[in-house]
């Protein structure tokens, strides 16, 4: 008897329904659920059991659907989030509490988290935080920092009703306006939107860091594989075979022509029907590699005689940055105390749980790309060049984005998909494999930093020099931005009259380094904030008071010579930490007296970050309209990648227009429907797009009030009767029907643009790079296991000057998430090309690694910000890593200068510091 099920049906119960699938032998349950049964709420992040996003319940037990052959589920009861939400009372409570706590940011891990939580709540009523951590430990999240998830599950288990939300006005916490689909499993991400008959595309990538290559018989290959519809190479690119993000640095080929510069460089794409591509092995593709010696380190690339990787970049130096004021060397020479140090950081992977995914199709003579992105209009710009098509023939419809953190600003699969759709005339889809996203998409730049800082005996800073080399990898991406931003920020938020900072971005044969939350500033802060502690110690000063003494203030010039008359909030952030600082030092002293092999320490660090592009225009435009039925529609194109712009921008608009936010109808990002709100990057959306939303709200309000000649402080009301205006004792109901709608269907329509006022930097970096900065200061308590070198953060206190919190819980969410990423950068994250290309060799923090975080929201309003608001996203992880390093030093006397502070490195430093 042959019981092979190859052609057989596998039957099981899916969310209460009997289903049957004709799956391939050994097909992953996750694939069958998504592709054969439409259960797109099962998310795939790694296909290796490392991320847990695909968690489903099989006979009540949570398992990774990516690790179970569908045949093994035969006869079993399989439950996914959408089914649980309909039928399980625990899931119902979790839907409520996850929204109330904003426990879902991007939402890609949320199904895995919630399914795991349902299993816990079924087995354990009212679990505590530790039980929640154990139960959810198998699901990775890169956005939230996990603490809000823990809170949400504990609350759902306890059966408490969530706290009521605020009004929605600026300054009040409301649930995310786009939050419900994230917690019910219906949100559509990049891999969830392709039509069922879409062709599938796979990219052929270099396995070598540096190689020449030749193709074999491509026509023969295609002929031998009837299911393969097209093979694309550089010869098939009608326009410019290159992409990039900065004019003058458009250097990365869509398809390499005859040589590759990093492991992961694309050389060809294969497009075929789904069944064929499921059986396609890239190893069968006819290409021959001739490996060349790779330049993996900056010193290799700078060495005399090293191969030059790009024309015009002698010694592989791509570009540099420079800021100088006063006379740094003279100041250091006269300083009473100086410290110096060399600091090294490594490649850091963004680690979003959603790999790049999407599809493209033709709509008449237009190509439409639906994919996850942080920058739809920049995607359109890139495709115009690559496809040699005018803007109006390219439409970008972003899907929900399962995390980005900078890497999804650059195009990834969009050119491949668009080329393939044009070539085949069919819908073509693609999802990066985890290895592929880790190999081929941008990383945080490794930095090698030398820094000297001086001070006079009274504790005032006296001279600072900074030299940083950044490994920018094979292609430019955002390397020039890192090179420019770092010298502007490397002083930290302090008064430094005599300063010189110089950077170089150096090409190597590593994966391209690009934008990652903070654009190089987290790396420079590691050096500067570590040296500040050493300097304070040499001066015999308290580390926090030393920072407060030197903090920037209103009327005090930055190292760029920019003087802010208002809005400088670093001192209030540092001062907010004073009570926790004193208490933590006392706690650590008590603990350390009683313990020999474990030592506790407390560290602080501060940071600042300029919001928006550096001395470059970066306008945002917001459009809004009033329909004849009285509906106010906001066209909101600022990509929400989990940070919350889909909620913040409407809150600002609603305040400006003068109605409750829930009365506004929203249209999300789509290049056909929403004007350019710029990229979600540079902590600019709340500030820049927020201002555009404010202006648009004000303009539409003015237009409405103008219809009835009402005074500026009249009250607008939207209800079922339409739009009424109350002006003192008078009430007007607008007769909108008498106005003729424009082609977009609006009787009144506005579009407003905001671009932050900046001034160019001169050759010494003097000027006005940003219209506003945001400020931060973190405190962390760590415990160090002395014999093992294991460091465990115990709690954080994070003070952030956000000018005006538009939605305070969203602020906390950014703070928590940034701290988790900073913690990972400090303690565990190291991307090594060729070696850590998965999520079990490359470690990001789990739910067990992030301790409680207390967020102190400081509001020093900024004159340029909408209602005083400042940007926040990137600021958060700037102080985290140096605060941890300072806490380790406080606990043990050991100073870590190379990240990450893995147990082995910490142990070596402890021994050097004299610990047994």
């Amino acid at each position: 008897m042959d019981k092979r099920t190859a052609p057989d049906l596998t039957a099981f119960h899916l969310n209460g329904q009997v289903v049957e699938v004709a799956a391939d032998p050994g097909e992953r349950l996750s694939h069958a659920l998504r592709e054969r049964l439409g259960a797109k709420d099962v998310k795939i992040g790694c296909n290796a059991g490392d991320c847990g996003a695909c968690t489903v319940l099989v006979d009540g037990a949570p398992v990774c659907a990516c690790l179970m052959p569908v045949q093994q589920a035969a006869g079993a009861k399989v439950e996914t989030l959408t089914g649980l939400v309909k039928a399980d009372p625990h899931a119902d409570r979790l839907v409520n509490s996850f929204q109330a706590h904003q426990a879902a940011q991007c939402g890609i891990c949320t199904p895995g988290m919630m399914v795991s939580a349902v299993a816990l709540l079924r087995a354990q009523s009212a679990p505590d935080a530790a039980q929640v951590q154990d139960a959810l430990g198998g699901v990775l999240c890169r956005c939230t920092g996990y603490r809000k998830i823990i809170d949400a599950v504990v609350e759902a288990g306890a059966g408490h009703a969530p706290a009521p939300e605020g009004s929605g006005d600026v300054g009040t916490t409301i649930r995310r306006l786009d939050g419900l689909p994230k917690v019910t499993g219906t949100e559509a991400f990049g891999d969830d939107v392709a039509p069922p008959d879409a062709l599938v595309l796979r990219v052929i990538r270099s396995p070598h860091a540096h190689a020449g290559f030749t193709f074999g018989d491509l026509d023969g290959f295609r002929a031998a594989n009837p299911g393969i519809v097209a093979v694309l190479t550089a010869a098939d690119v009608p326009g410019l075979n290159a992409f990039g993000v900065i004019p003058g640095f458009i250097d990365q080929p869509v398809f390499a022509v005859d040589h590759v510069l990093f492991r992961g460089d694309a050389v060809a794409a294969v497009v075929g029907d789904a069944a064929t591509m499921a059986r396609f092995d890239p190893a069968d593709f006819p290409v021959t590699w001739e490996p060349r010696p790779p330049l993996m380190e900056v010193e290799d690339a700078l060495a005399p005689g090293a191969a030059q990787l790009h024309p015009g970049r002698a010694h592989n130096i791509m570009c540099g940055g420079h800021v100088a004021c006063g006379d740094a060397e003279a100041a250091l020479a006269r300083a009473d105390v100086t410290v110096e140090g060399q600091f090294t950081t490594v490649f850091v992977e963004h680690g979003y749980i959603e790999p790049e995914a999407g599809f493209a199709m033709m709509d008449g003579d237009r190509v439409v790309v639906q994919a996850c992105t942080q920058a739809p209009v920049m995607d359109q710009d890139a495709l115009m060049q690559i496809l040699a098509l005018p803007r109006e023939r390219i439409r970008i419809v972003p899907t929900a984005v399962g995390g980005g953190f900078g890497s999804k600003i650059d195009v990834s699969l969009q050119p491949f998909l668009a080329l393939a759709a044009i070539r085949t005339g069919r819908a073509v889809r693609m999802t990066y494999e985890r290895v592929e996203t880790m190999q081929s998409t941008t990383k945080r730049h490794p930095a090698a930093i030398s820094m000297r800082i001086g001070a006079s005996r009274d504790g005032r800073l006296c001279g600072m020099t900074f030299d940083g080399d950044f490994n920018t990898g094979a292609y430019a991406s955002w390397g020039p931005t890192v090179a420019n931003r770092v010298p502007v920020h490397a002083s930290g938020p302090y008064r430094v009259a005599d300063y010189r900072a110089t950077t170089r971005a150096v090409n190597t044969n590593c994966v391209p380094a690009g934008a990652f939350r903070g654009f190089g500033v987290p790396q420079s802060a590691v050096a500067q904030e570590s040296l500040f502690d050493m300097l304070a110690a040499r001066l015999g000063m308290d580390a926090l008071e030393f920072r407060i003494l030197n903090a920037l203030d209103n009327g005090v010039p930055t190292v760029c010579g920019q003087v802010f008359a208002q809005g400088v909030g670093v001192k209030p952030c540092l001062e907010a930490l004073r009570p926790a600082w004193a208490a933590a030092q006392a706690d650590c002293d008590t603990f350390n007296v009683a313990h020999a092999t474990r030592k506790r320490g407390v560290g602080v660090a501060a940071g600042w970050y300029g919001c928006g592009n550096t001395s470059m225009p970066n306008p945002s435009t917001i459009r809004a309209g009033l329909r004849a039925d009285g509906t106010v529609v906001l066209h909101q194109g600022a990509m929400d990648i989990g940070q919350g712009s889909n909620t913040v921008i409407p809150q600002i608009f609603a305040r400006a227009f003068g109605v409750p936010v829930h009365d506004i109808a929203l249209i999300g990002a789509d290049t056909d429907l929403t004007p350019d709100a710029g990229k979600t990057s540079a902590s600019r959306q709340t500030f820049v797009t927020g201002n555009a939303a404010r202006l648009a709200g004000e303009a539409l309000r003015k237009a409405v009030l103008g219809q009835v000649n009402a005074s500026p402080d009249a009250v607008i009301t939207l209800d079922t009767a339409g739009l009424t205006v109350t002006d003192g004792a008078q009430t007007f109901t607008l007769d909108l029907a008498r106005l003729s709608p424009n082609p977009a269907g609006y009787v009144l329509e506005v579009a407003e643009t905001y671009d932050p006022p900046t001034k160019p930097l001169d050759k010494n970096g003097q000027g006005e790079p940003y219209a506003q900065y945001g400020y931060a200061a973190h405190l962390v308590v760590v415990e160090v296991d002395i014999p093992l070198g294991r460091v465990r953060p115990l709690r954080f206190v994070a003070a952030h000057d956000v000018g005006q919190a538009i939605n305070p819980l969203l602020v906390e969410g950014q703070v928590h998430g940034g701290i988790a990423q900073g913690l990972g950068m400090a303690l565990m994250e190291e991307y090594i090309p060729h070696r850590t290309e998965n999520l079990h060799d490359y470690l990001i923090p789990t739910i067990g690694d992030v301790p409680p975080i207390e967020t102190l929201i400081v509001e020093v309003p900024d004159a340029h910000g909408p209602y005083g608001a400042k940007g926040l996203g990137e600021h958060v992880l700037i102080p985290t890593a140096p605060a941890i390093l300072n806490a380790i030093a406080h606990a043990t006397g050991a100073r870590i200068t190379r990240l990450p502070a893995t147990p082995a490195r910490v142990r070596a430093a402890l021994k050097e510091a004299g610990h047994a």
């Binding site: 398992v63 990774c64 060799d841 147990p903 082995a904």
Partner: protein
């Protein structure tokens, strides 16, 4: 190319006699190793073979069936000697992995960092291998030949682990060192099994993982411990471990830690695991 859900052991063994046939159980190592490459050959699923899943006790000791999951092990009512393997089970990946992955699969995968191996070595586990040629048994250390290498022949299934009866009062412990909580491959790990009698160690077994090609018992340490007073061992602190005790270890340096660090961490973990075993054993058995 096919997928067979074996209804009996003999059916599984017959199917595995075909070329390119592979065993699949929990799938937690099989799928990551396969990646997105297309399947070539047959898969033989042994998870529904009657009698292959679960833990039983008979005259010869304890028998952990080849399809027993980590969660099955965690939930089984077992004596304190099994506390170490249970602690290891809770550290295997995540609950999702523990619910699907099998103890036997962890051994067959033969990672130097396999969480199950050190505690099973301290328990003196014997593996049972079945094929159409019959059944054979061997000690776990003999079964593990090297990284990703075992004595399992083509066509064989690891049908059970047999743990010989242990002294009453034997206490197992396990410590795993990684760079994060949950979902982590260890830098080093140690299992200890200690039996106390009136304040003296009458039997000790210590094994270290991730510090050699396969996890190793430390016979010199075990010999030194035997007969010593538990109080002395506790008082000696980390000094209870001497460099010579660690001679069987030959750690490598990799992304998780240097060789020197691993050696030092192993020593620290050995002392801590022994102390835990003594303290817990002392509490349970006076």
């Amino acid at each position: 190319m096919g997928y067979l859900v074996a209804a009996s052991l003999s059916e599984a063994l017959d199917a595995l006699g075909r070329p390119d046939a592979a065993v699949i159980a929990g799938g937690t190592d099989w799928f990551p190793a396969q990646g997105s490459r297309p399947l070539k050959g047959d898969l033989v699923d042994i998870t529904r073979v009657p009698g292959l899943r679960g833990i039983t006790q008979d005259a010869g000791g304890w028998r952990i069936g080849g399809a027993t999951t980590w969660t099955d092990l965690i939930r089984a009512d077992l004596p304190p000697a099994f506390d170490g393997i249970k602690a290891a089970a809770r550290e295997v990946g995540s609950i999702q992995i523990q619910n699907a992955g099998t103890v036997a699969g962890n051994l067959c995968n033969a990672s130097p960092a396999a969480d199950g191996v050190p505690p099973l070595l301290t328990l003196g586990a014997v593996v049972e291998l079945a094929s159409t040629r019959g059944i054979r048994r061997m000690g776990l250390s003999e079964f593990l030949k090297g990284p990703r290498q075992t004595a399992r022949m083509p066509g064989e299934v690891l049908t059970a682990l047999i743990i010989p009866d242990l002294p009453v009062g034997a206490q197992g412990t396990f410590l795993k060192l990684g760079a994060r909580h949950y979902l982590v491959i260890s830098i080093a790990m140690v299992a200890a099994l200690v039996t106390l009698d009136r304040g003296r160690i009458v039997q000790a077994a210590v094994a270290v993982g991730s510090c050699s090609a396969t996890a190793q018992r430390l016979p010199a340490l075990e010999a030194d411990l035997t007969g010593r007073s538990a109080a002395d061992v506790l008082a000696a602190g980390a000094g209870v471990i001497l460099p010579a005790h660690l001679a069987p270890l030959a750690p490598i340096g990799d992304v998780r830690g240097s060789a020197d660090y691993r050696m030092e961490a192993a020593s620290t973990l050995c002392a801590r695991a022994l102390h835990m075993a003594i303290e817990q054993g002392g509490q349970s058995h006076g």
